[in-house]
């Protein structure tokens, strides 16, 4: 049977190749993702091992909680005086303060713009020059800065920008732009790319000045004396220092820093794997369909084998083994193609200015094993139902030409399909409306969608007829008999058409869902901005979300025409055992923003005492907090601050009061946060708006290039730009699954054309031209694609509307991109025609003679 399966694959080369391709692409994405992760992990380990080389022990403030993606790092620091106390510990040979600040500086080009990609880009990190053995740089040219007017730059950035020692470089710090002389160029560690990040090394006093860290350090580096192990020294220091400081060995610190950033990149791996999963899922439809069709076409072959004495198990085995071989072969090729995927992703990141840190592609075992399992299992699962069908072929059926579908199985299938749809809808509904957390909703949503897609694909057989009419009739009216035949051909085997189009349905449903969700998010943000920000301008970081120096707002406030600059600060904090973002608001906020009071009014806010706060109503309700309550808030430094809730506001979009808002001075003083996330600017009533706007922009651009000042409209635009960029990335990732589904259309068409060889020859005999045959096939392809696109669009719209409804209490307002959806449908149709192109050519080459061939 193995030999038979091998022959089968060989004999149906084209079909096998197309089918293999369906698995291959998804598998390549899985393999590539794991390779990418392996490469990144290795590179990060390398970077942080280098950064901590020569450091036996490092002393840092002990944090009450880790900052992460949703809780910004606070500027918790250690005082310079700690160095003396550490030096006093027995076994310490040397100790030095260390600063590495990635939010304060911008290295500027000759035009005064931040180097690297526009609108943000990888971090630029300000470091102090460290004494040996802590210094991670090898000076390839010049040396460390020795005066406050000098800076040294890492070699990769220097190469990229063409820096030469002795030249002048402008760098903007917290207090504005300053010119420095380049004292040296240094290779960081082994010279591993830093992911596009740039390192600037200053003297210690200078770095403290430009990062607002006077008298403070991020950490203290310690060298152990001869004969003292790092572990021993760590324990001694921990014993000697108060518990708000924590000593780690250099290796421990490197591992922790590396694992933190790896976690940060975890979302990339997860996202890529989700899209790889979608591709594999779509590929599974294709495999299922191909095996179904070939099993049907081989009915007589199986019957013949049975008459020769083959057991039904042997027939089953022959199909399963064929699937297994195909799965293994395609997966292995897919793994090889994974390298290409890594290069593609790397190139894509490089193109937008984020060079992924890599020291060559690393292939962890999981990058081989996981895709192999995924590919083989997906293939086998998809082939198992067709294989079981093959076993039902009796010798007698071999003699009959057409195998008729069993009425009972058809009905049972319909019930299973309805059950799947029902469970899918319930899972989606429960995920959206029943679970409190986003994290809990996503797996349910995913599972629900999978069930829904499979169920709809099974049921779609009965939808094919009306939809084929909907799409086919206009073609028929325009193009006559070829359109008619194309439409009828899609109805010949509705379940086959359904499964073929279902593959495209998945991609279209997800695209439509994403488009509606993005439009809704855009609309909600725009509405919220309109309602909340009533000032004239807003200042943000150039990347739109990172913090920036409060000096920016202070400088803008001094401009003529500017009446109010209201800074909005924030910090991560621990409330009720959960990490949240608290915001710090200035009492002048009410002149540039509307607060939607549910308890209290603007006066409540203006009179807020340093030990008071206002709370977001929904959040407060969820945590059982009411006006008048005392709430304990823990800062990252571990300091506990108790505030009294003075009022509540609604802030669904979490612009100003996501949880608790404290007076900004309290946040700055007690939460170690000396940054702003947003400054709202209001002009004087009689100010010339255009002139003042221009003046603010000019000031920010010239003195603080890491920040940007935008009008209301520009702010809204840049917010929607950010969402649309994300949407574009999602489209690109979904494109792969759409491509796979088009291969499904090609595959089905090729197989059905093969089935209809004689009929097509007859059509030629009775006068059909080659181009008529081509048209007929292309229309069939178009109709099939459109059926999938229409069902997909309906599912996408339904799920998106439900999702937006579920998130309506987070302020999401439904927006339907009608033009976008129509465009998706048109593109699906064009893709259908494209998919039909090659099968149509094959069909048109069929000669009349083939209609005359005897069996």
């Amino acid at each position: 049977m193995l030999a038979l399966a091998l022959r089968g694959l060989g004999a149906r080369k084209l079909r096998s190749a197309l089918t293999a391709f369906a698995i291959l692409l998804g598998v390549a994405m899985v393999a590539g993702t794991f390779m990418l992760k392996g490469s990144l992990d290795t590179a990060f380990d390398d970077i942080f091992a280098t950064a901590n080389e020569g450091i036996d022990v490092t002393v840092q403030p002990k944090l009450a909680f880790d900052s992460g993606f949703d809780t910004p790092a606070s500027g918790v620091s250690v005082p310079a005086s700690l160095i003396k106390r550490i030096e006093a510990v027995d076994g310490v040979s040397k100790a030095a303060g260390d600063i590495g600040d990635d939010t304060s500086i911008a290295i500027l080009d000759e035009n005064g713009d931040r180097i690297g990609p526009a609108g943000g880009g990888p971090p630029q990190i300000a470091n102090n020059a460290l004494p040996e053995p802590f210094n991670p740089f090898t000076w390839t040219d010049g040396g460390a800065p020795t005066s406050d007017d000098e800076v040294a730059i890492d070699s990769i950035t220097a190469d990229e920008e063409g820096y030469e020692v002795g030249q002048t470089i402008s760098i903007s710090g917290r207090e504005g732009v300053k010119e420095y002389t380049l004292s040296g160029i240094g290779r960081f560690g082994s010279g591993v790319p830093l992911g596009g990040a740039s390192l600037a090394v200053f003297t210690t006093p200078e770095v403290q000045r430009i990062t607002d860290m006077k008298g403070k350090y991020d950490s203290i580096d310690v060298e152990a004396a001869e004969g003292v192990s790092p572990e021993e020294l760590r324990n001694r220091i921990n014993d000697a220092l108060p518990s708000k400081y924590e000593a780690q060995t250099g290796e421990e610190a490197a591992a922790e820093q590396s694992s933190d950033i790896k976690d940060g990149f975890g979302f990339l791996t997860t996202a890529l794997l989700v899209f790889a999963g979608i591709s594999v899922f779509v590929g599974a439809f294709l495999i299922f369909n191909t095996f179904s069709i070939t099993v049907a076409q081989r009915t007589s072959e199986f019957g013949m084998l049975r008459t020769l004495g083959a057991s039904s198990r042997q027939v089953l085995a022959s199909v399963i083994v064929e699937a297994l071989l195909l799965g293994v072969l395609a997966s292995l090729l897919g793994i090889a193609l994974g390298f290409g995927f890594v290069q593609l992703v790397t190139a894509a990141f490089k193109a937008i200015g984020f060079e992924l840190p890599q020291s060559g592609v690393v292939v962890p075992t999981v990058a081989i094993v996981a895709p192999l399992i995924v590919g083989v299992v997906a293939t086998l699962l998809s082939a198992v139902i067709p294989a079981i069908r093959a076993t039902r072929v009796t010798p007698l059926e071999a003699l009959r030409d057409t195998a008729t579908a069993d009425e009972r199985t058809t009905r049972r299938r319909a019930w299973i399909a309805r059950l799947l749809v029902l469970v899918g809808v319930v899972a989606i509904g429960y995920g959206l409306f029943g679970t409190a957390s986003f994290g809990g909703a996503l797996p349910l949503l995913g599972l629900g969608l999978i069930l829904l897609f499979v169920g709809v694909a099974m049921l779609a057989g009965s939808l094919v007829s009306p939809l084929a009419s909907l799409v086919g009739r206009p073609i028929e009216a325009l193009r006559g008999v070829t359109g008619r035949l194309a439409r009828e051909n899609t109805l010949r085997n509705p379940s086959r058409t359904a499964v073929t189009s279902a593959a495209l349905m998945i991609g279209v449903a997800l695209v439509v869902f994403a488009a509606i969700f993005a439009k809704s998010a855009n609309k909600s943000v725009a509405d919220a901005l309109d309602q909340t920000y009533v000032g004239d301008m807003a200042i943000t970081n150039t990347d739109g979300f990172s913090p920036f120096s409060p000096s920016v707002g202070r400088a803008v406030a001094k401009l003529p025409g500017v009446e109010t600059v209201s800074p909005i600060g924030g910090a991560g904090a621990l409330v009720d055992g959960k990490t949240v973002i608290i915001t710090g608001l200035d009492s002048n906020l009410t002149s540039v923003a509307n607060l939607d009071w549910t308890d209290g009014d603007d006066a409540t806010f203006e009179n807020l005492r340093p030990d008071q706060a206002i709370a977001e109503e929904q959040w407060a309700a969820d945590h059982g907090i009411a006006v008048g309550d005392q709430v304990e808030v823990t800062a990252q430094s571990g300091r506990k601050v108790t505030v009294e809730v003075a009022g509540t506001v609604r802030d669904e979009v979490q612009l100003l009061v996501p949880t608790l808002a404290l007076p900004i001075d309290t946040v700055r003083a007690k939460f170690d946060s000396n940054v702003d996330f947003l400054d709202l600017v209001g002009f004087e009533a009689d100010a010339d708006v255009d002139q003042t706007e221009a003046a603010v922009k000019a000031l920010v651009e010239k003195r603080f290039p890491q920040a940007q000042a935008q009008s209301q409209q520009e702010l809204k635009d840049s917010q929607s730009d950010a969402i649309n960029q994300l949407l574009a990335v999602i489209y690109v990732l979904l494109a792969l699954s759409v491509i796979i589904s088009l291969f499904g259309v090609v595959n089905t068409l090729v197989l059905t054309i093969y089935e209809r060889t004689r009929e097509i020859g007859m059509l030629r005999a009775i006068g059909a031209s080659r181009s008529q045959i081509r048209r007929m096939v292309r229309y069939e392809s178009l109709i099939t694609a459109m059926i999938g696109a229409i069902i997909g669009a309906v599912i996408g719209i339904a799920v998106a509307v439900a999702a937006v409804e579920a998130l309506s209490d987070e302020g999401l307002v439904l927006g339907i991109p009608v033009v976008g959806i129509v465009l998706v449908l048109i593109l699906a149709g064009l893709a259908g025609i494209l998919a039909g192109f090659w099968p149509a050519r094959r069909a048109s080459k069929i000669e009349v003679m083939e209609a005359l061939q005897y069996e």
Binding site: G480, V481, R484, L485, E488, N489, L491, R492, R758, E759, G761, M762, L763, R764, A765, I766, G767, A768, S769, R770, Q772, E847, V848, M849, A851, L852, Y854, E855
Partner: protein, 213 residues
């Protein structure tokens, strides 16, 4: 070899397998290119036509009847009959269509799909389809090869009457003397040559002719 098929005649080309009868039909119908020689139909040199010309020829001057009926399974009987005209983009002569349906005895089954018709009925639909465009010649390749004897008789009588009543020219390729006995004239092929070419009457004469070869 040189051979003429005058219009309004039913000619049978017979011969054993490998005698070249199918090849002759393929060449006559422009389905195959000869290495030398010419074929003419109704004043058109078939062997000189390109694919486009052949398509035109098939639309207006040729009709085909196949052994396996080869109806489009998704179309009804009447739609199958009309198909050649629709493909050619020609108007449908409804009177002619109805007359043909009546002649083949399928007026009351016109809206049935092929799967709902018997083999004989399907082949009669195929005959009507071949006649619909009033072609110069109809080629029938083993038209009864897949039918029982009752159905065969029906189809053959239909071909006979289409010649007699509609003045249609029909060329039948067969190895069956009974089929050939319906013809006005029988051409017997053997080893690629014409072994006999005679007007006939009766099945026995055909059998004798074929035996002589």
């Amino acid at each position: 070899m040189t051979i003429d098929f005058p219009s309004g005649e039913l000619t049978a080309i017979v011969g054993p397998s490998g005698s070249g009868k199918s090849t002759l039909m393929h060449l006559l119908a422009g389905l195959d290119k000869p290495t030398g020689g010419q074929a003419w139909i109704d004043g058109v040199e078939v062997t000189a036509l390109d694919d486009k010309g052949l398509t035109e020829l098939r639309r207006h001057k040729l009709g085909f009847i196949f052994q396996f009926f080869n109806l489009v399974p998704v179309l009804t009987a009447v739609e199958n009959v009309e198909l050649p005209l629709k493909i050619a983009g020609d108007p449908i002569d409804e009177e002619w269509r109805d007359r043909l349906l009546e002649t083949v005895g399928l007026t009351d089954r016109a809206d049935h799909r092929p799967a709902e018709l018997s083999g004989g009925q399907q082949q009669r639909v195929a005959v009507a389809r071949a006649l619909i465009s009033r072609p110069a010649v109809i080629f029938a390749d083993e038209p009864t090869g897949n039918l029982d004897s009752t159905s065969s008789t029906g189809v053959l009588e239909l071909l006979r009457s289409s010649v007699a009543e509609l003045d249609q020219t029909v060329i039948v390729v067969t190895h069956d003397p009974k089929v050939a006995s319906y013809a006005d004239r029988v051409v017997v092929l053997a080893d690629g040559r014409i072994a006999a070419d005679e007007k006939i009457s009766g099945e026995q004469q055909v059998i004798d002719l074929m035996r002589d070869v």
